[in-house]
Amino acid sequence: MKRAHRTHRFARPGALIPRRCARVALVAVVSLGALAGARAATAQAPSHSRSPSPEDSAQAIHLLNRATFGARPADIAAVLSEGRIAWLERQLQPDRIQDTAVTAIERRYPYTSVTPQELYRVLEPADGSKGPSPQTVLIQLASARLVRSAASERQLEQMMTDFWFNHFNVFFQKGADRYLVADYERSAIRPHVFGRFEDMLRATARHPAMLFYLDNWRSVHVDSGARRPLAQAQPKRMAAGLNENYARELMELHTLGVDGGYTQRDVVDVARAFTGWSFGPLNAKARSDDAGEFVFRAQLHDRGAKEVLGKELASGRGMEDGDDVLRLLAAHPATAHHIATKLVEYFVSDTPDPALADRLAAVFTKTGGDLRLVTRALFTDSAFYRAEHRRNKVKTPFHLVASTLRMTDAQFVDGRGAMQVLRAMGHVPYMSSDPTGYPATSEDWVNSGAMLARMNYGIDLASGKIAGIRPRSPESREAASATANLDGLTRALLPGVNTDALKRAVIADASSSANVALAPRQRAARAVGLVIGSPEFQRH
């Protein structure tokens, strides 16, 4: 499969070239409104003719810090121009936002859009020749995720994809999941991030990536007499029987939460309810219509009566056992509370405000788990905007890398260097082996080695030392007065932050005896690196 050698250029933030700022802002406004009417209204009737109040600006920046992978000057201008609510409403309808960046990504990283069986045939050629390595696939998928997070106009959808993928985590490296993960994100996660929770839950429950990852495909009725389920890549000599892995994580992680009030007996009966939920094998020898598709194998299903959370499931039934369990769990109050608390932890604070979580849980319950309405409630709640919640989250390594790509003018040529950076920081997309997914709180990401890695990342990125990422080379004219442009740089990368001390340190660095002889371009790169490596840039 050929790789297109095109590069992706991120919108310039106007960091060192203020003149470009205006153009970027215009482009952003034009492409944001897919409907002609909306575009006209946005372009012609800005809601403010006067400059916004400091509090308006601060709230716009806070919204962008949490709902996007980086508040660029143009983004802030857009939110201030149309208002936070209007901006949010548009982000909640991503299908109506034109997104040329994403179309380009799908062309550039074809492994993100092929079916599992196509991917299987690419990796395991039928003629026995050696296909590309799984690593090649992983780099494509992770690069696509990174570029999409940085460049997509549908920013809130990207944030939500990060959140929900982690919530329903699967692991690329576990056996057949390397063929399945791309389709999983595309068909089970993304379409549902603003849909009904129960639909996403069901899509994940039926998806081969999850069925394989949490072993449900080989969970069979103990007395069914089946030696082992029919599916590809099965470990040798694995005893056939009930496997509780999916049932346990379904309740502990996906729905009720660890204190959600279920018992070991519930785990067993939920596992029994899902016996027979499997998928068609991908390997060429057993090619069939159901390859890589959900299959219910009635003969492996436990047809006995079950009791889940006090509700009886009558004997003699089939797939409806699992469907009923999903319905029951999706509608359970503990699920609403668990999801609400996780959303608050991810988007508001490492120590979630219980009152805010309760309000979101109420919206979840009242709307039957309508995630668009729950998300809207989150970003419109006054508690979200409280001063103590602003810039109190530490970016995850993935967020750090995505935000630097978004906010600086780097060209993403390929994913080699970015993967190394993410691997060193322990945050390669699709590579969390743990069903909990990657953590969202700072205690898991902040330690002495990690902080050094972040500082070095800033310096390496700005000085062009990361393979596959080209920093913008500042024209010498601007670079010559890098410190004069420092105001512009810090405003662009750290909007709304008091950066006086940071700027003083950068200026002192530039004028230190070791650095006075640096070429203007190097001095400018160093300034960018220091800002990216600063503690201020680690927060959002």
């Binding site: 000599r237 743990d434 902040v446 330690n447 002495s448 070095n456 002192a508 660095d509 503690p535």
Partner: protein, 440 residues
């Protein structure tokens, strides 16, 4: 040799301080005084070698007294001792793979013991799950967030104190109140780009890919480092600034101690492999007296599903690298090995029977080697379950008779002095009666 090197450090260390213009605050920390007087309160170090990919323990330490071993392995068995390419006999029943010859006289000097049929009780045969379980120290519990070595650091007294609270202790270190030549982050060091799961957690720990380049901007740009230090002295001063401060402290200590000045001892030559480089740097860190208590290095290439080989071949070459590296470190550290224990581990063993490709597949129990001046050596420990078909786990693998946590618990309590083993191995009842006794 021990004393000579220490004096050399004090002298060179002082010079380094003057030459680098270390800030006055650093001189107030008792690094030099403590280091000079360290003979009385010497720091113990544990070196963990993780053989990632599941080494074939039945080739490392060969049960040459088992007929079933030879019946199951037609092409890859290591021959009985005596002839060319035969195992090196240890006790008439077990023998070392010929590539492990560099380690043989450590066994003879009673400084090395072997625990056989040891491993994780988890039934998983997934590398990822099994490594995760061994490193978290909690088999079959996926929700454990920190690693066992990190919990060892938190629950092992440092500087004469018992640590109830890792972060309070880290704060003590960060302000330089307590130090035996080091900061909290230098207590746990991994050689490599990433901090391994074993060392992740609340206690500071550092991954060092290359001592030469350790620091900010590749280590050679002190202006950049100073600027970043200034940038991280903010009024917010929470976890982000605290962790960075700890890193800067580690950089300063390392710069002053300058571990790179320690060339290998006369006659010692490390393999040129990545593993050899890791071990050489671990030796340099230990010699420089920066207070490393846990050092961790990976060595890979053990997943021998095909063409594993016997006395020669793929696995033999990996074992050669392993043994020559460990022996170089052992000789390089010399008398310092009195305070050092080195232990090897791997996520699970491999099938007793060789497969159709001249290799072995994922199995169950395995063997570990443990060595050092304080080790009660020259013994093969554990109960041998046998290799007859009915003695195998799942009918195919070496059965387990020692839980790896009992080995980890013994080495951390008896060597490092870890106080609270229940906190290191949550959910496991550590019982000293199950200790195999390699620490005496």
């Amino acid at each position: 040799m021990n004393g000579i090197n220490r004096r050399a450090f004090v002298r060179n260390g002082s010079l380094a301080l003057l030459a680098l213009g270390i800030p006055p605050a650093f001189l107030r920390t008792p690094l030099l005084a403590e280091t000079a007087g360290r003979a009385a309160a010497r720091k113990k170090t544990l070196i963990c070698i993780f053989q990632r990919g599941a080494v074939d323990g039945l080739s490392m330490v060969v049960p040459h007294g088992e007929a079933a071993y030879y019946a199951s392995r037609r092409s890859i068995a290591v021959r009985r001792p005596g002839g060319a390419g035969g195992a090196i006999d240890l006790d008439g029943f077990f023998g070392l793979h010929p590539s492990l010859r560099p380690l043989h006289d450590l066994y003879g000097r009673k400084e090395m013991s072997i625990i056989h049929a040891v491993g994780s009780p988890s039934a998983t045969r997934s590398h990822f799950d099994a490594q995760d379980y061994m490193e978290s120290g909690t088999p079959d519990a996926k929700s454990t967030r920190d690693g066992w070595l990190n919990r060892v650091l938190t629950n092992t007294s440092c500087c004469g104190r018992t640590l109830a609270d890792g972060s309070a202790h880290a704060a003590d270190h960060a302000v330089g109140q307590i130090t035996v030549g080091g900061v909290a982050a230098l207590r746990g060091i991994a050689l490599g780009a990433e901090l391994p799961r074993s060392l992740r957690g609340a206690h500071p720990a550092l991954a060092i890919a290359d001592l030469q380049k350790f620091g900010v901007g590749g280590g050679g740009d002190s202006a950049l480092e100073e600027t970043f230090q200034r940038v991280y002295r903010t009024e917010t001063n929470d976890a982000v600034e605290g962790a960075a401060g700890d890193a800067f402290e580690a950089i300063r200590i390392l710069k002053a101690a300058n571990p790179l000045q320690y060339a290998p001892a006369a006659g010692v030559s490390y393999p040129g492999s990545a593993f050899g480089r890791s071990l050489r740097q671990i030796a340099q860190l230990i010699k420089s007296g920066v207070g490393v208590e846990v050092a961790f290095a990976d060595v890979g290439g053990w997943d021998t599903h095909q063409a594993q080989g016997g006395a020669e071949g793929q696995l033999a070459r990996r074992l050669d690298d392993l043994a020559r590296g460990i022996r170089a470190l052992y000789d390089d550290l010399g008398d310092r090995m009195e305070d050092v224990v080195l232990i090897t581990m791997s996520e699970f063993g491999r099938t007793v029977r060789e497969n159709g490709s001249g290799g072995t597949d994922h199995g169950h129990a395995n063997c570990m080697m443990v060595m050092g001046g304080g080790v009660s050596g020259g013994r093969i420990l554990g109960d041998w379950p046998g290799l007859e078909p009915e003695q195998l786990y799942d009918g195919r693998d070496l059965a387990l008779t020692t839980d790896f946590r009992d080995v980890f618990a013994e080495v951390s309590s008896r060597h490092l002095g870890t106080a609270d083993l229940a906190k290191v191995f949550p959910g496991y009842k550590v019982d000293t009666k199950r200790f195999r006794g390699f620490m005496g």
